[in-house]
Symmetry: D2
Subunit: 434 residues, 4 copies
């Protein structure tokens, strides 16, 4: 478990190296297995699909995550390791300019060869290398930390495998399902939305380094937050439908200027994946086309939609600091167990259960904060330094993870980020107010 061994502990030498390596090896095997499990229901042809430049083929995700270990770990650290195929450094590099020009992002769907079989051989070869490294060689704290990064990186791609294949399959007019196991609707009544008061004060923001975190969660610092109120659950399809029915997509006053341009140009009238037919609103989902359930959280919203909804509701989105303060303040001992994470295999957000605030799991929650470095943030000087810092412009912070996020990947200080127009991710709305 990534939570068990911390970078700080590793780097401080507090844990015996063998124990660190054992735990890393076990984490490695779990993560790698999960990735392949997500692809198991897909054919080689499905895994080839790229339906837009932002979304990558499953096959590419399978290869890229392996390339990460090969390039940053095995190539220089495992004695005798032979690069699997010299073309792969070009093909499966995502955006690390330090390592050469990456293959064109929008053409990833055109890589029929290596075929899927070869990709699995590649994964296997990397797995053998990593297992050898972690079993037979002493691993420095720095290297252990890098391997942890690689595993968390692969977990990020697990979620992307789902968001991207959903988009790709949605293009097919046959309403394909990624998963046939649609969770049953239990039919209990919708929890009313309550407003939870969070007191003013200084709150610790960011990771304290006692567990793994990405560089963008550092440095930890104190942030003053004024009193505010935050919603007790996510906004539902039913609530969003009221916004639509009240002319939400026609009232310019509710929208940010760039958002208004976007919906005008594209004639957007409802969220991505909603379709209306004679029997009412349908929603394309990982379980195929389903009737819209008014009690479930609304998802696949752009930031602009989330913001316009909040304005319409007379509320606002929380800042990322408010979100983090509230999530800490309202933390419950059982929340990780309750939360709707990837391991539950629901493949969709669930209706809020009594007492569950949904801060973690279900859906990534748009905040009003621009994605910017924390004060005194520094990028690393090596190639891995391209990881997060260079994206700190034009994007918005999202918090909390989704039903597609592994439980051991998320934490309250986690900062995700997307462009405000993007809606193919599993994104939802939590309101705040003063």
């Amino acid at each position: 478990m990534s939570q068990l061994i911390t970078d700080m502990a590793i780097l401080a030498g507090e844990v015996p190296l063998e124990e660190v390596q054992d735990q890393l090896l076990s984490f490695y095997q779990k993560v790698r297995g999960e990735t392949e499990g997500l692809a198991a229901s897909l054919s080689a042809e499905d895994m080839q699909l790229q339906s837009m430049p932002d979304a990558s083929p499953t096959k590419w995700h399978l290869a890229h995550t392996s390339w990460f270990f090969e390039t940053f770990v095995l190539a220089s650290r495992l004695p005798g390791y032979q690069v699997f195929n010299p073309h792969f450094n070009h093909l499966f590099n995502s955006y690390y300019n330090s390592l050469g020009t990456p293959f064109s992002r929008s053409e990833r769907g055109l890589i029929s060869r290596p075929d899927l079989g070869q990709i699995y051989e590649y994964r296997k070869a990397v797995d053998v290398g990593m297992q050898t490294l972690l079993s037979d060689y002493p691993v420095s704290p720095n290297l252990a930390s890098l391997i942890q990064l690689g595993l968390n990186h692969e977990q990020q791609h697990q979620e992307l495998i789902l968001t991207d294949i959903k988009h790709a399959l949605s293009v097919n007019p046959m309403a394909l399902a990624y998963s046939d196991a649609l969770p049953e609707d239990e039919g209990y009544p919708l929890e009313p939305l309550r407003w939870l008061k969070i007191p003013r004060g200084f709150y610790g923001i960011g990771s304290d380094g006692n567990s793994f975190c990405f560089d963008n969660e550092r440095p930890e610092h104190q942030q003053f937050v004024d009193e505010f109120r935050i919603a007790s659950r996510l906004i539902t399809n039913g609530e969003y439908l009221e916004f639509i029915q009240d002319g939400g997509y026609e009232k310019h006053r509710l929208w940010l200027s760039d958002g208004w341009s976007l919906i005008q140009q594209n004639q957007y009238k409802s969220p991505c994946y909603w379709r209306r037919n004679e029997s009412g609103w349908q929603q394309y989902s990982l379980h195929g086309s389903v009737t819209l359930n008014r009690s479930e959280p609304v998802y696949h919203l752009s930031f602009y939609e989330a913001d316009a909804f909040a304005t319409w509701a007379g509320k606002r989105l929380p800042t990322e600091f408010e979100w983090e303060a509230a999530a800490c303040h309202l933390r419950r001992p059982d929340q990780m167990a309750i939360a709707n994470f990837l391991e539950k295999r629901h493949f969709k957000p669930l209706q809020a259960q009594r007492g569950h605030t949904q801060f973690l799991g279900d859906l990534w929650e748009w905040t009003s904060s621009a994605y910017l470095p924390y004060r005194r943030f520094r990028t690393r000087a090596d190639a891995v330094g391209e990881y997060n810092g260079k994206f700190m412009c034009n994007q918005k912070v999202l918090r909390g993870g989704s039903f597609a996020t592994p439980a051991d990947h998320i934490r309250i200080s986690y900062r995700n980020f997307f462009y405000p127009h993007q809606s193919w991710q599993f994104t939802g709305i939590r309101l705040a107010g003063d």
Copy 2:
């Protein structure tokens, strides 16, 4: 063989119906088998690729050609035939608006399902249906004629399978080969280019209806052609290289205005698929990357390139009427046997052999003629009427077939057509002069 039974004979009832049906059935089996043979060396992933809107996935070609028979023949003519899958009419309709809105052309590469296995089952179901129809039912002359059209249509897609997969595989940086059987270069000297004089006079243009033809080859008519000279073979890579080395791509005076804009905007400096490395010019081919052979015909030229070369050479391209007149005038008894057609499985144009004029096979030859209807041309009133007529604008006529054309598909009166900027087809140059 399509040449054996003619529409005219069928329609006139000159041939006993059983004989017609027997021959059609045998032609059907041959063509369908050839199509699948061309796909045999490709994986399901390869067959999924669509590298540009103009080019379609192999899988789509396999399905579309079957859709043609299902839609135009089986659905209405075979008693009890069940449509294989109602979605296929949308997915595999190319451009027949009469039959509903076709699935977006540029998204054909996003159809992972039906998967390849289902496509082969579809082909099988259509084959069974067609065989039943041709074996067990009397087929009217009109229907026989429609089946012949379907088979010639499928032969057209055989060539497209090759042009399109070549383009798709070329995007992959690993220089993939479609075929490993690169024909040996026999090393004989290049035939000098001679100028053959064709006398002035009226020439019969178009098909006389004594063998199968497309609607655009009709009506047959007489065309006056002045005396001219025509080259005894295709232009070679070596000759085209002289044009490049003489600054052909930098001299605006050689180019049509639209062509000059095209090469300026795209920074074209050589034909599509040519790459220069330290050891000289390489050419991406169906056999992977090969060293440019100066004696072989130059191919993958746009009309603009062909025209600019002709201007540079002080010559011109022939009109389609000149081409047809010359091809008739110079016809030799053995030309079909010599010609480099698909059946030879060379998958490339060959150096001209002594005495072979290359009018048929090797490469489609750009003419200077705009693709326009022959006088009194009429489109058919039914859906098949969309076949050729609606494309008679903005395109140029090409003649003669290529190494990817089946021998029993081509004829002297055959009119192919592409937009002047297109170069992913197997296109070459034959010069003419006054």
Copy 3:
């Protein structure tokens, strides 16, 4: 008058040089004055407008036509002539790559300086130079011919001044009029459309050189034309309205494939400049917005619209050879006097009068012919050789001139050409049939 002195006569020395020069000088003064007359009702601000890359500002037309004389004539032929401003060669070169890179076509509207006053000084300086040359120096036949070309070139730009300013003013929501003198509608009944039979035979096509012509009208040659019928007048707004009301813009079967794509993408439902309001169809014209007159010729059609209308009507467009044959065959002694040319200052096409076939004047008539060189056409080797030849691809031939064409500029052999999608020109429909 350009018709009075012919190139042939000039070049053959049949006319005394002084007489040639006198006539040229008088023609020069007339043409130059007419150009300025067309601009007289426009402000400097109007003349600055460029509403799309295809259309140029009036100011630019005023300058470019002067640049033609300065560059091709005065700079090298008038002793002591000083170039007016060295920047102008860059700014006012249209497309002559031989003379340097022209200023970006789509940015012509951004040339505020030289201001209009300076452009008129430029015109004046060129006029002084040209008058000096023609009065004080002996002019060689070749130079005389070049000056004639320059004057015909300027006449072409007179028509473009009108087409381009109409487009530019149309963007303004205030329905501006170029001219206030709207011709009165005389209210006589519409001439019925009759079908005139043209006998089969060889017809002389192109200019015989006995009057000025552009290079694309040469060489003159004989063309065999089969018997056909041609409409006795242009198609009217009322007739085109029937096509619209019959769903012409919704029936794909009527359209060429490229045309169908164009109208689908742009949601075209009626001709350019037609607008429907509560009181019916309005038409934006050089006289501002007017109620559609059903008896007047329909104009501003793309080739695709003209072709679809013809298909709907069960007819076709004539070839350019048929058009020329018919125009010759039906020629009447008084046609030049009757015809609606620029000199009449109607600034719109007129309802056909009894017995007037409208072959010349009123509207340019789309033919079905691609714009291609006549056999043995050769471009000139000098910069003027860029005049017509390099455009002989992707365009369609139009014949007959319009209400914006000067009477002494047009002739039966005249070949105009535009892309099939273009509709900002004064284009109309004449039908043909077999």
Copy 4:
């Protein structure tokens, strides 16, 4: 002077209404006169130019600022006022959707009519109305406040007149000058760049309402700022040249990812308006093309360029709070007198004089802050509420005003904002460090 009467004072009724109205009238006359003064050296043709959608014609600025007074003030508040021309509400509305669909922003350069004379009549009519209103009628505090907004709005457009005409004239290859009065270079040595320490603490951010401010400067609040250092002057051309010469535009590690994409796609190698010729670097300026002066502040940088330079220098850009804290902390009594504002008519940034920190005037300074609402910010419910709030996404805050900003328009709390890719504004760099 806008500073003299405050909203608060007005609204509180502390100042006698007549005095308020007198001061407003005098401010009105000054601002309106200044706007026309800036246009005085331009021709009607110059004022028509629109060289890109972001930049508007001078003529449009002249009209739009008048439309603001007519629409928000005169139409409803001045008894008997007649709207000047009903079309103007459509033509000269910038982005107030509440008032109808604005005329297409990218087509503002196509409004030749109303011509410039009519625009000046429009200004005159509005001036007469406003003077009547302010002289003859009692004006409510709310209305007085709205008039102040209108005047500050017009001052914003004064700066835009200069940025936009500079861009428009730069397209002209003749290197046109807006102003001929190039300030003399006094040749004194460059002030060394010093690092000024600003102590940690809470700083008041935003306007206290004791002078006019825009809504985005409110509410005033306390912000904790850690200790930091800030540069004593702007970065110079010479310093930026070192960055270029060190390969700054080729090193991806220095750039934000979106910035790197931008400069790669556009092949940017130096700031906008820099040109290199045989005698070295030239800069296009409001005085035409001038030799680059290494001691003057570098300007016309995008945020990406500013950020990459800071990274290269081992520093960073300040946050907007740091900037405001530093500007307050380092405030000097004479700074308004020293500063290079519009009234000085230098039309360019000046070399830093001894002891002048350049916080105000010279150039707008990019901060690292995203343009977001201050806590508890609320937009107004009326049409004026569209003023600032709807732009609070995707933009970056700039501070301090430029040489084109009127002195009585700027203040330390002033928040300007542009997209990170924009560089046609007068933008520069001030560095910060920890």
